[in-house]
Each structure stands twice: as C-alpha cells, then as structure tokens.
Symmetry: C2
Subunit: 336 residues, 2 copies
Amino acid sequence: MVAKKVTIKVIAKTAGVSPATVSRVLNNERNVRPEIAERVRGIIKALDYHPNEVARGLVKGKVNTLGVVVPDISNTFFSRICKAIQNTVMPTGAAVFLHNTDGILNREREIIKELASKLINGIFLVAPRVPATEIRTLFEELGVYPVVVDARVENCRLAAVWVDNVTAFIEAAEHLIAKGHKRIGFIAGPLAVANSKDRLDGYRIALRNHGIKENASLNYESDFTIEGGYEAAKNMFRKANPPTAVLCSNDLMAIGVLSYLNKQGVEVPSEVSVVGCDDIDVASSLYPPLTTVSQPIYELGVTAAQLMLQYTSTKEVPPNSILHAKLIVRNSTSNV
Amino acid sequence: MVAKKVTIKVIAKTAGVSPATVSRVLNNERNVRPEIAERVRGIIKALDYHPNEVARGLVKGKVNTLGVVVPDISNTFFSRICKAIQNTVMPTGAAVFLHNTDGILNREREIIKELASKLINGIFLVAPRVPATEIRTLFEELGVYPVVVDARVENCRLAAVWVDNVTAFIEAAEHLIAKGHKRIGFIAGPLAVANSKDRLDGYRIALRNHGIKENASLNYESDFTIEGGYEAAKNMFRKANPPTAVLCSNDLMAIGVLSYLNKQGVEVPSEVSVVGCDDIDVASSLYPPLTTVSQPIYELGVTAAQLMLQYTSTKEVPPNSILHAKLIVRNSTSNV
DNA sequence: CTGTTAGCGCTTTCAT
DNA sequence: ATGAAAGCGCTAACAG
C-alpha cells in the first residue's frame, strides 16, 4: 500500500547524518548544530516523515496517550466531560482512548488492565464503580496514573475532582421548602453510586433541618434514565397523597417526570413543581424550562485534565478539587 | 512503581521454555505440545502477565486499534454512533481512539495523520468535512482503512454507510402537506454538510411535487444547535406571513423552535406544527412529543463497525450501505 | 556537537 | 515441536 516506509534511517541517510542526530532534532535537544537541524527539518518536511509513535513508545516504556473510562458515552453528561478532557489535553499532543463500561464493575477492571498493556500514561475514571482503595492498589501495580472524575474520594490518596452534591441538594430542597412544599418526592439514581447517595443525603438533611418528616413512599431509587424517571413518577403519583414537588437526581429523570405529568394532564409548576440536576443542554428549552442543579460539567472535565497533566509531570498526587454546583431557577417550580 | 516487570522472558524462564514458545501459545498457534501450552498458560495467569501491546505493534507494524473521528462528541447523535461502534468492535479486542474535530476541516486532516502515526488499523470518519476523493488518496498513502459514517459517498470507491435523507425528508414534508400546510418553513443545518443539503433537497422535491412554490423567506441555514434553531425561529416568525409548519434538519434545532414558540405563547401543534430529525432520546418526552424523522443512529454505528471489520480482514473495500430513516408521528404536528 | 552501539518486548524466520 | 537469532523504529548511554 505504501510506496516505501520513510523511517528515521531514511531521513538520516538523505541528510548525511546519523539516526541519533535526527532523533535529537525530533526531540528538540539543543546540542545539534542549528544548520544541521535546519537541514534535517527540511528533509523531514519534504518527505512528510512522521515518527513511528509505537517504536518511540516501546523504548520509552510509555506512549503519550490517555484513557477515559466512562459508564455511558451516549449520556450527554459524560460525553461533555469527555469533550472537556479532550480539548484540554489536546495541546499536549496526547491521544485519548475511550471506553464504555455500561456501569459494570468487572468491565471497568478489565478495561483498566487492557489500557495499561498499551503503555498509556494515565486513565481518567469517570464516575467509577471500583472502590477508591482498589483503584489505588491496582494503578500502583500497573504504573499508570489514575484521575477520578465526578466521584467523591475520601480517606484515600488519589487524584480526584468532584462536586459537592450534598450542599447542592440541600439548596435545591430548601428552594422547594421555601416555596411552601412539604410533600417533596425524591427520585434517586442508583444508590451504589456515591453521587446518588450524596444527593439523597442533601435532600434528607434539608428536610430534617426544616422539621419535615421523611416519608418513605416519596423516595424512589431509579437509574438516571428518562424511562426510569417516568416509571418512578407513575408509581409516585398513583398513590394516595402524591407529592406537590419532585426533586430528581438528574435532568433525564426529571424529563421523564415532566413527560408523565404532561401525559396525565397535570400542570407544571402550578400543580406540581419539578427540579432536576445537571443542567444538560435541553434543560432550559423544555416546557416548562427546568429548574435544575447546574453541575459544572465542562469544568469537571477541564479540572480533571489539569490534574492529570500535573500528576504525570510532577509524579506527585495533586490536591483534590471540589467544585460547586449551583441551583438555576427556571419555571418548573412555584409556590404550593 | 512496578515491582518487576513481567515480560515474555520471565514467563519463558519460569516455564523452562523459550520466549518463542510462549509467543506461540499467546498467539494460539497449534504446533505447541498441549501440556507445555497448558503449563505456560498457567504461569501467565499466575503471574498476571499481559503482553506488551506496543512491542507487539512494533513488530507487526500494526496495533489492534481503531480511531473514531467525530465533529462533536458532546452531541448525542454522535456519541450514540460512537457507542454503537465501540460495542460492536469490542469483542475483537480492538481499542478505540476518539477525536473531536469541532467540524474544522484542517483539524480533521491533522488528526488523521496523527492517528496513522500510531499504527492504528482503521479510522471511522463520522460526518467528515474532508471530501471523499481526498480521503481516498490520503488513506492510501497512510496504509490505514477508512470507513465513512453518516455521509453520502458517490463516485468514489470508499467504504461508507449513510442514510437516505432525501427520501426521508420528502416523506416528512409530505406529512405536513397532507395535513394541509402550504407555508412550510425549513431550518437547515450547515449546507456544506451533504446531509443538510440532502434534507433540504428532499423538502424542495416534496414542495415541487405538490405544486407549492418555494419561498426564500421560509428557508434558514443554521448550525444544528438549540440556540441556532431558536434564532432561526425568531427570524422566521417575526416576518409577515409566518409559516404554519416548520421542518427542521435536526431535533436540537426543533427544540429551539419549540422553545421559542412556547415563549411567545404560540401553541404547538394547534397554531404551528414542528418536525425534527434524529429522534434523540428526549424527543418523545418533549412538550409536545416531537414528530421527527427517526435516524437509525445505533444501526449506523453498528453497520460502520461491521464494514470496518470486513474491510480490515478481507482488505477489500466492502459494499456501501444505505439505511432508511422513518418518520415518527407524535403530537407536534396537526392539520392547519 | 555527533556517531556508534545497545537494547525496549515481542514475533518470526531458520535451524534443529 | 522447539530454540536461537534477527530485527521492527526508535532513543539513550557512551565515546569521541
């Protein structure tokens, strides 16, 4: 297919120097006579030579590549984090492997090992299911740098960036309470995920602080999908004494709730208030525009990328970063 | 960091055989005595040995890796294609590089070359801006297999899968015409993209077939975003003689239109009908649920992956595949 | 400053 | 069926 592979040797020969010298100009080492460097560079360009990254990786024992492991790339939330990571990392010339785990614990482990065998530098673990302590030992063996994204890490020396979801959900619940709501439903994500747990905790703390008794029939554990939210709403509103407001652990589930209520002819927000979380792109364009806990999604990705860059260059675990979410009030909430 | 790197040599030594033999069992060659193979496999497992894929890649001149190049990974449409590709390709053990181009022509070219230097096998070009003929010559030089996804390729021997958008949009426009609409607005995506052009063509053909004169003030070129759709709607409905129906080149723009109309207090569908395209996850949960041209997104990705697998194994350009879109009628359209 | 010499970890002839 | 040896394309000492 290719006419003749142009390698470092070819460049060396046509330039009348040794491969080592070519390698030196390739890597911008200073001890090369400028005129020679110039000549070599010219030939490189003329022959459209691109160094074989794999050979380079073999001798260095590392390839300038990062891995991103996400539960579900087709979820906007994760794909936006990916994009942020990519954009931030691109200037360094690092390529990025992407892997889906579908939230399956073992898949996550396998993928990590597989990536390690490719001599990559670091791995971003977005909303990982593998526990922090295991991540730590696993990556020590592998010689790869891990950065945990969007998952709280405590009592474990690990590079990580996450959002303070507890505080965010206290705020969200209080917004509803301030509007006079007392029967506030909560639709949680999978409680095995720390974020889901934290959001639920925030909601509970707010209730407690305002002397509202928690009602078990108003809590549902769902799965972060539109359908899941729809089903949860169906269950919640079929019962006697339905809530006057619903707080959802993400926007997708809130969309499911909105969809169910629209179908039932229940008006939002006059009859029921709805709050989501994430502030995905469509949130402000829904009917009604959704009040939601805006997650700093892009910032999450950018920060993660910066942590990684710092981590791989200093070889020291960088300090963790805790970002803040912010309630964005739109028209899906009103007084009781 | 690592205790001691376990390489093929270590395995060979502890098994009392040569590296060549270990390599043979690794690659499932038959001429190895079964008992030896067993023993080697045992040691591999015991020492948790994972072959160095980079070294392997260097000698083979190829790494079992594919690249996916998309305009914008944070767009659900593309991220779902990615997921489909990934899932289909995963069983073969191929890893996947992901790259964003932001729809920039030159970025696309650079990325392709960069990926090639990593000795990858093939590249999926999703909705590429680089013209087909250039793709062909570029990849021939590079020795990498290209598969074009979601872009019509004609008059050029290139592996590709795309959707028949012309027919789909004829159907969509006729749906509106059948409901008595005569003033039908059209919000196009960037017309440099073949898909956008095709959708516009479908709309035009339908109008012509039904004797409706095209009205330039009813056509807008936008950018496939919610905001773009919103702005287009604003322009369209500010003028005298606004349309009674709007056909959009994707769902995101349709959401923008819906959002604008809601804000203006214009009822959908009783006052204005709206049609989108893609059938993204939220489409059925909007208010009102969106009538849309459902693109076989997942199938697009799966087919692309299959083409790639076929391409790389046979080394022959596989036949192109043209998928069909289907109009899904929901509640955003009604009679005039 | 520059060239020579060894490998990086693996696969692949070529012998045996 | 198995081992020895060469080499993929590059970088990294080590000389000079």
